[in-house]
C-alpha cells in the first residue's frame, strides 16, 4: 500500500475498533477519553511515521501505543482513583494490571455492545445513524456530512448532543441481555437499514464513500448474525436485503456516478457472489412465524435479481408489496407496488390504482403515471412527465425525465410524418 494511503486506511479500519474496546472498558461517561486516546495514538503515528518508515506491523504498533497511552493516562490521572476505578468494567487494583484486550473477539464484543448503546431510544434515529457512523464505522464528521448531503455543523451538533444524552442517561455499554435484545434489536436494525440506504440511495457523487457506507452497514449486520443471541430471522433477512441490493451497486451507476435505471442495467455486471450470499441469508431468515418488513423487502430484492420479465416474478413482487404496505406505508413502496401491478395485472388497472394515490407533490408519482400512459395515450404521458420535470429537484432526476419527454416528442413527430 502507498505510504500516504496507509494511515487513512488504518484510521478507517482500526480507529473504530480501538474506540469501541476502550469505551467498553471505561463506560460511556468517559467516551471522550477513549476518543482522545485513540486520536492521540494516530497523531503519534502521523508524526513518527512521517519522519521515518512505518513500522513492520503498523496495526500492532497502533494497538501497543494505544494500550500504553491508556495505561499512562490511568496511572497519572487522579480521575481514575476517584471515579473510573469504581465504574471500570474490569476488576483491577492497579492500572498496570488492566488488560486492554484488542483480540478479535473482544473487538467484536465491544462493537456489538456499542451498537446497542448507540441505538438507544433516548436519542433520535438520525443521531443514532450519525453516531454509529462516527463511533462504530470510524467516519469523520465531514464524511458523514458528505454522505447525507448536509453540512458539518449539523452533523457535529447532532453527534455531540447525542453523546451528551447517552452520557447523562449513563447508558451501559454491555453485552446485550436477552431482554435488551428483544427490546432494542428492532431499533438497531432500523439504524443499520438507514445506514445502508444512506449509502445506497445517496445522491452524493462520491461513489467510494457510498460503497464504504454500505459495506460498513453490512459488516455490522454480519456481527449480529455471528452472535448467537442476535442471530434472528429478521437480522438474516436484513443482511439478505443488503446483499441483493449491493449485488447491483456497480451496475446501477455510470462511471460518473449517475443512476442507471433497473430496466437499463447490464445484468452481467450484477455480482453473482453477493446474490448467492443473499439467497443463503434469505433461507436462513425463513424460520419462526414473524414476517418482518426486511423479509418482504429482501423477497422483493430477490425477485429483482431475476432480470427476465416473467408473470411469476411480477406477481410475487406485487404480493410482497401488498404485504409490505400493510405493515408499513411509504410513498415509494406505494409507487413501486403500482408499477408491479401494471406488470402483473395490466396497465389499465394500474392507472386506475395510481390515480387513487394522489401523491401530487412527488415527481416519481408523475413519472410513474407518465410511463403507464406510454403506448396508451401519448398526450397524457407527455403531460405527466412534464409535471414530473417541474417537481424534480436533482439534476439526475431531471435528466431521466427529460429523456422520456424527448422520446415522446420524437415519437409524436415520427407518427405525424407518417
Amino acid at each position: 500500500m502507498e505510504e500516504e494511503a496507509l494511515l487513512p486506511h488504518l484510521f478507517r479500519t482500526e480507529y473504530r475498533k480501538m474506540v469501541s474496546v476502550l469505551c467498553y472498558l471505561f463506560g460511556i461517561k468517559h467516551l471522550e477519553i477513549a476518543e482522545d486516546i485513540v486520536s492521540d495514538t494516530f497523531l503519534s503515528a502521523t508524526e513518527l511515521w512521517g519522519m521515518d518508515k512505518p513500522p513492520e506491523n503498523p496495526t500492532a504498533w497502533l494497538y501497543t501505543v494505544a494500550k500504553n497511552k491508556t495505561k499512562n493516562y490511568l496511572k497519572r490521572n487522579a480521575l481514575f482513583e476517584q471515579k473510573l476505578a469504581k465504574e471500570i468494567t474490569y476488576t483491577a487494583n492497579e492500572a498496570d494490571e488492566i488488560e486492554i484486550d484488542l483480540s478479535e473477539k473482544n473487538i467484536n464484543d465491544s462493537q456489538l455492545a456499542m451498537m446497542f448503546t448507540v441505538c438507544n431510544p433516548c436519542i433520535s434515529v438520525e443521531a443514532q445513524v450519525a453516531l454509529a457512523l462516527n463511533l462504530l464505522c470510524g467516519f469523520g464528521i465531514q464524511e458523514i456530512a458528505d454522505a447525507f448531503l448536509t453540512n458539518k455543523e449539523v452533523v457535529y451538533k447532532r453527534i455531540s448532543r447525542a453523546k451528551e444524552k447517552l452520557k447523562s442517561a449513563n447508558i451501559k455499554i454491555a453485552q446485550p441481555s436477552i431482554s435488551a435484545i428483544d427490546e432494542r434489536l428492532e431499533s438497531v436494525l432500523t439504524t443499520l437499514y438507514l445506514l445502508f440506504n444512506g449509502g445506497y440511495y445517496s445522491v452524493s457523487q462520491n461513489t467510494t464513500l457510498r460503497k464504504d457506507l454500505c459495506a460498513e452497514a453490512m459488516r455490522l449486520t454480519y456481527l449480529l448474525v455471528e452472535n448467537e443471541q442476535t442471530n434472528t430471522p429478521a437480522v438474516n433477512a436484513l443482511l439478505a436485503l443488503m446483499c441483493f441490493h449491493s449485488s447491483r451497486f456497480d451496475a446501477r451507476l455510470t462511471d460518473n456516478g449517475e443512476i442507471i435505471l433497473y430496466e437499463d442495467q447490464d445484468e452481467t455486471r450484477w455480482n453473482s457472489a453477493l446474490i448467492e450470499k443473499g439467497t443463503y441469508f434469505l433461507n436462513q431468515a425463513a424460520t419462526g412465524n414473524r414476517v418482518s418488513k426486511y423479509h418482504l423487502e429482501a423477497g422483493i430484492a430477490y425477485w429483482h435479481t431475476h432480470k427476465e420479465d416473467t408473470n411469476e416474478k411480477w406477481e410475487n413482487i406485487l404480493q410482497l408489496y401488498n404485504q409490505l404496505l400493510q405493515i408499513e406505508y411509504s410513498p415509494i413502496a406505494a409507487l413501486n407496488r403500482t408499477f408491479a401491478l401494471s406488470k402483473a395485472n395490466g396497465k389499465k388497472t394500474a392507472i386506475r390504482e395510481a390515480e387513487k394515490l394522489k401523491l401530487t407533490d412527488n415527481h416519481f408519482y408523475y413519472s410513474l403515471l407518465g410511463s403507464l400512459y406510454i403506448n396508451l395515450d401519448s398526450a397524457q404521458a407527455l403531460q405527466h412527465f412534464q409535471t414530473a420535470f417541474k417537481l424534480a429537484n436533482s439534476i439526475a432526476d431531471k435528466a431521466t425525465i427529460r429523456k422520456n419527454i424527448d422520446w415522446l416528442i420524437t415519437e409524436k413527430t415520427v407518427a405525424n410524418n407518417k
Binding site: 401488498n322 404485504q323 406505508y329 403500482t338 394515490l357 394522489k358
Partner: protein, 118 residues
C-alpha cells in the same frame, strides 16, 4: 380523515354456496390486491387480522352454540379498518371488496369520536 369499519359477510353455511379449494386459492389474490391497494393509499388503519371460519354464539341462560348460525345464514368473514374523508369515500373503497363477487356484502360503519359519544 375518519376511521371506518368494513365488515364482510357472506353465506358460509349453505353447501352449494361454498367455494372449491381451487376457488379458495384463486380468491387469495383479489383480496390481497384489494387490501394492498387500500394500503397503498395509506388508508389502511392496521394490518388485517384473519379469522377462523368456525365460531360460537352465546345467548342468555348460558346457551352456547357452535356455528353454523341456522337463522342468520350470513356470518362475518372478516373486517378491516380504513381511513376515509367521509361515508362516500368509505363506500367507494368497499365497492372493490371481493366478497361482493361471492354474493356477500360489506357493512360500512363510521367511528364515533369521544366528543360525539355523550
Amino acid at each position: 380523515m375518519t376511521e371506518f369499519l368494513l365488515v364482510f359477510r357472506r353465506d358460509n353455511t349453505t353447501k352449494e354456496e361454498q367455494p372449491s379449494p381451487e376457488q379458495m386459492q384463486a380468491a387469495i389474490k383479489p383480496w390481497q390486491d384489494w387490501i394492498g391497494g387500500i394500503a397503498a393509499q395509506n388508508k389502511l388503519v392496521r394490518p388485517p387480522q384473519r379469522w377462523s371460519a368456525e365460531g360460537k354464539v352465546v345467548r342468555a341462560n348460558n346457551l352456547v352454540t357452535d356455528g353454523p348460525y341456522a337463522e342468520i345464514k350470513e356470518s362475518i368473514g372478516g373486517l378491516i379498518f380504513v381511513r376515509a374523508a367521509d361515508f362516500d369515500e368509505a363506500v367507494e373503497i368497499a365497492k372493490g371488496c371481493p366478497v361482493l363477487a361471492w354474493g356477500g356484502n360489506v357493512e360500512v360503519r363510521m367511528a364515533v369520536s369521544p366528543a360525539e359519544n355523550s
